[in-house]
C-alpha cells in the first residue's frame, strides 16, 4: 500500500489504542435512576416531574451525543419506600440517581447514596439541611428555602417598582407545612433587611394544608383590611382560597406568592378559569427565552401533544436539568465509575441551561448557587414570566384591573 495510506492506517490503530476511554464511553449508556413519587399524595407532582425525565434522553442525545438509559422508580410518597427503591436502583446498576421532589425522601435517599458512593442529583427539594451534612455524593440544582424566600421577596420589590404600585399593608396567609413554615421564618428574617419593600404585614394567618373549608381564614384575612394578599400555598388550598375570596367578595390589589407551588399549576387554571388571572408566584423557573428551553419545549410537545411545558415549568424543567447535569458529567468523565462521576459533577459548569440565573456550578457543599427566580403571573390563562425584564414575555399587572380601594 502507498505510504500515506500506511501512515493513516498506523495513525488509526494508534488512535484507537490511545483513546480507549472515548471509544468505550461512546458505546456505553449512562444508567440514570429516576426516583419520583408517582402515586400517593405527591402523585400529581411526581408525574409532572417524570415528563421532564422522559424527554431527557432524546434531547440530550442530540445535544451532547450521550446515551441515557432511564430507570424509573415510584417511591409512593413514602419515605420507607424511597430508601428501599433507591437501594434497588443502585443494585440494578444505576450509575446516578435523580429525584425526588420531597425533602424527607431526599434526606433518606441521600443517606443511601452517600453510603453506597453513588452520586445523587436532587431535582427539587428545598430543605437546606440536606446539603449541610457534609455529603460528597449529594448534589442539588435547586434553591434552598431561604434562597427562595430571599429571591421571592426581592422580586416583590421589583414588581412594585415596575408597576409603580405602593401598597402599604399586606396580610400574610400561609399553609402550615414545610414550605409555609420556612417562608414564615424567612419573611421574619429577611423583611427587616429588605428596606426597599414598602409594605408591612398587618396579620399572619396560618392554615391547615388538609383543610377543605377555609371560610374562617378568609374572613379573618378580609377583616385585616390589607392592600394585598401575600400567600404561601399549595395547589388545592390555593383553589379553595380563591373561590372563597369570590364568595366573600374580597378583592385585594393582588395575590402574590413569595415562593410556593399552587397558582401556576395547570389545575389552578382549569378549575378557576378567568378567576386565576393576575395571581403572581415568585418561583425558580425556566427562562422562556433561553435556547435550550425552545429545544426542550419542542420535545415536550412531541411526547405530550395535549399538554404544555409551561404548566410543568418548574417540575419538568429542573428534572430535565438534573438529567442534563448527569449526562454532561458522564461526557467529561468518560466513565460510569461512580466516584469519577461524582468528581466530574463537582466540576460542572453548564452555561447553556434552561433555568434562570447563573451557570450550573456546585459549591463545596454540592449546592448550586445563584439559581434565579422569576415573577410568574397568570396572564391569559397561562403562567407568564413578567420579571426579570430580560426573560419576560409580558409586562406585570399590579394592582389587578378593577381594584377599588374599599
Amino acid at each position: 500500500m502507498k505510504r500515506r495510506q500506511f501512515n493513516q492506517a498506523i495513525a488509526a490503530s494508534v488512535a484507537s489504542l490511545g483513546f480507549p476511554g472515548l471509544v468505550k464511553a461512546q458505546g456505553q449508556k449512562l444508567k440514570v435512576g429516576v426516583i419520583l413519587p408517582r402515586s400517593g399524595y405527591l402523585g400529581l407532582i411526581g408525574q409532572s416531574c417524570q415528563k421532564g425525565a422522559d424527554l431527557a434522553p432524546g434531547v440530550i442525545r442530540d445535544m451532547l451525543g450521550v446515551d441515557l438509559e432511564l430507570m424509573n422508580a415510584d417511591f409512593e410518597s413514602n419515605v420507607d419506600t424511597a430508601r428501599t427503591r433507591a437501594e434497588r436502583l443502585i443494585q440494578e446498576g444505576a450509575h446516578v440517581l435523580v429525584g425526588p421532589f420531597d425533602s424527607g425522601a431526599a434526606a433518606a435517599i441521600a443517606q443511601v447514596a452517600e453510603q453506597r458512593g453513588v452520586p445523587f442529583i436532587i431535582n427539587i427539594a428545598a430543605a437546606p439541611q440536606i446539603t449541610e451534612q457534609g455529603y460528597k455524593f449529594v448534589f442539588r440544582n435547586f434553591q434552598t428555602a431561604p434562597d427562595i424566600v430571599r429571591e421571592g421577596l426581592s422580586l416583590i420589590g421589583s414588581l412594585f417598582q415596575a408597576t409603580n404600585a405602593v401598597p402599604r399593608t399586606a396580610v400574610f396567609m400561609h399553609v402550615n407545612d414545610t414550605f409555609g413554615q420556612a417562608m414564615n421564618k424567612g419573611i421574619s428574617a429577611f423583611m427587616p433587611r429588605l428596606t426597599q419593600l414598602p409594605f408591612r404585614i398587618v396579620d399572619t394567618i396560618s392554615y391547615d394544608p388538609a383543610a377543605k373549608d377555609l371560610t374562617v381564614e378568609v374572613s379573618k384575612a378580609k377583616a385585616a383590611n390589607a392592600d394585598f394578599l401575600l400567600l404561601v400555598c399549595r395547589l388545592n388550598d390555593a383553589i379553595i382560597l380563591r373561590r372563597e375570596m369570590v364568595k366573600q367578595r374580597w378583592q385585594p390589589m393582588g395575590i402574590v406568592s413569595p415562593g410556593s407551588p399552587g397558582m401556576y399549576e395547570e389545575q389552578y387554571f382549569k378549575t378557576l378559569g378567568k378567576l386565576s388571572e393576575y395571581s403572581i408566584s415568585n418561583v425558580p423557573w425556566y427562562n422562556p427565552k433561553a435556547k435550550l428551553t425552545q429545544v426542550v419545549e419542542k420535545a415536550f410537545l412531541k411526547q405530550n401533544p395535549k399538554d404544555r411545558l409551561v404548566f410543568h415549568g418548574l417540575n419538568a424543567g429542573f428534572t430535565f436539568e438534573a438529567c442534563l447535569i448527569a449526562a454532561d458529567a458522564f461526557k467529561r468523565a468518560r466513565s460510569t465509575d461512580p466516584k469519577t462521576l461524582a468528581e466530574a459533577i463537582r466540576q460542572t459548569n453548564i452555561t447553556d441551561k434552561m433555568s434562570l440565573g447563573g451557570p450550573i456550578k456546585f459549591n463545596a457543599k454540592g449546592q448550586v448557587e445563584g439559581i434565579g427566580s422569576a415573577c410568574v403571573q397568570n396572564l391569559n390563562l397561562l403562567p407568564t414570566v413578567v420579571l426579570p425584564a430580560g426573560a419576560a414575555t409580558a409586562k406585570p399587572v399590579f394592582p389587578v384591573p378593577g381594584y377599588k380601594k374599599a
Binding site: R38, S39, G43, Q47, N72, D74, V79, D80, R83, T84, E87, R88, I90, Q91, S103, G104, A107, A108, Q111, V112, E114, Q115, R116, A127, Q129, I130, Q133, Y135, N176, D177, T178, G180, Q181, A182, K185, D208
Partner: protein
C-alpha cells in the same frame, strides 16, 4: 415443642447470617420487615394480650422519635440516654390514655376511636411545636460511618439490621415469657371475657394499664430507631393514620395474639408489596395506583378467608 424450637433455631440462624449473603437492597427490605415485626409485636401486647384495639399507635412511635431526636438535635444527647426519656414520655401518654379510657369504661370501637383522636391531636400539636421545628421537619445531623458507632447509633446498614434483629428477637422472647407469667394469664382472661375476669377478682384496670404501659414503652423504642435511621421527622408523616394502619397490618394479617403472627405478617406483607412492584415492573405496567389495588385485594382475601390470620393457618398445616 421440640419441633418448634428447631424451626425457631433455623430461622434465627438464617436471620443472623442474612446480611452476609444478601445484597444491600434485600438488606434494606429485611431491616424494614424487622422494624414492622417489632412494632407489630409491641402493638400486639395491647391488643392480642389485653384485647384493647389501638388504632392510633403511631402516637408512641412519633413521641418516641421526637423526644429522642429532639434531645439529640438540641442537646447532643445520644440515643441511649434519649431512649429512656422517650420511653418515659410514651409510658406517660399511654397511661394517661389508658386511665381516661378504662376509668370511664370505654372499650371496643370507642377505645379505638379514642386512640385515633389522641394520635391526630398530637400530630396537629407537633405541627405547631417550634421546639421540634413544627411542620418543617426535624433533620438530625447525619454521620456516615463504616464502623459501628453504637454510642451514637451510626454505622453501616449492617448495624441497623442487627439492631433491629436484636429488638425483634428480644420482643419475641419477652412476649413469650410474659405469656407464661401471671400477667399473661390474667391478660388472656381479660381478653376473653372481662366481666368474668372481674368476677374472679382480677383487678382488670391494673392489668390493662400494665399492658398499655408495656406496649407504649416497646413502641417508643421503635420510634427512637426510626429517628436515627431516617434522620428526618415530619409530624404529618410519623403521626399519620397511615402509619398507624401500617403498624397493625402485620399482626392482624399474621395473627393477633399469637407470638409469631406479627413477624410472619410483617414479612408476608412487605414481601407482597415489593413482589407486586417487581412483578408489575417486569410486566412493564406503569399505571400509578395499580399496585395498591392488588395489595388491597390480597388483604381482602386474607381477611375474609383466614380470619384468625396466616400463622394459625400455617401452624395447623405444619401440625405444630
Amino acid at each position: 415443642m421440640k419441633k418448634e424450637i428447631i424451626y425457631l433455631g433455623i430461622l434465627a440462624a438464617f436471620l443472623a447470617a442474612f446480611p452476609w449473603f444478601a445484597g444491600p437492597y434485600a438488606l434494606s427490605i429485611a431491616t424494614l420487615i424487622l422494624y414492622l415485626a417489632y412494632t407489630g409485636q409491641a402493638w400486639n401486647v395491647m391488643m392480642g394480650f389485653a384485647g384493647q384495639l389501638s388504632l392510633g399507635h403511631s402516637l408512641y412511635v412519633g413521641v418516641g422519635a421526637y423526644v429522642a431526636g429532639g434531645l439529640f438535635f438540641h442537646f447532643g444527647l445520644g440515643p441511649w440516654a434519649g431512649l429512656w426519656a422517650a420511653m418515659a414520655a410514651c409510658v406517660a401518654f399511654g397511661l394517661a390514655i389508658g386511665f381516661l379510657a378504662f376509668r370511664f369504661g370505654i372499650s371496643g370501637v370507642y377505645f379505638a376511636l379514642l386512640t385515633i383522636a389522641f394520635a391526630e391531636f398530637t400530630r396537629i400539636g407537633f405541627d405547631h411545636l417550634q421546639w421540634t421545628n413544627g411542620p418543617g421537619g426535624m433533620f438530625l445531623r447525619v454521620a456516615q460511618r463504616d464502623h459501628w458507632d453504637l454510642l451514637n447509633f451510626r454505622g453501616p446498614p449492617f448495624m441497623y439490621y442487627y439492631a433491629m434483629l436484636f429488638l425483634a428477637t428480644a420482643a419475641f422472647l419477652a412476649c413469650a415469657f410474659l405469656l407464661r407469667t401471671k400477667a399473661g394469664f390474667y391478660w388472656q382472661a381479660i381478653r376473653e371475657n372481662e366481666e368474668a375476669a372481674q368476677a374472679l377478682g382480677i383487678n382488670t384496670f391494673r392489668w390493662k394499664m400494665l399492658a398499655v404501659a408495656i406496649s407504649a414503652a416497646m413502641t417508643s423504642v421503635s420510634g427512637v430507631f426510626f429517628a436515627f435511621y431516617y434522620n428526618n421527622l415530619f409530624p404529618h408523616e410519623i403521626f399519620s393514620m397511615g402509619r398507624s394502619i401500617e403498624l397493625i397490618l402485620g399482626p392482624v394479617i399474621g395473627g393477633v395474639g399469637t407470638l409469631f403472627g406479627p413477624i410472619l405478617g410483617a414479612a408476608a406483607l412487605t414481601l407482597l408489596s415489593d413482589g407486586i412492584t417487581e412483578a408489575l415492573a417486569w410486566l412493564g405496567v406503569e399505571i400509578p395506583g395499580i399496585k395498591q389495588v392488588f395489595y388491597g385485594l390480597v388483604l381482602l382475601a386474607v381477611v375474609t378467608f383466614l380470619p384468625n390470620g396466616i400463622w394459625p393457618f400455617i401452624k395447623k398445616q405444619m401440625k405444630l
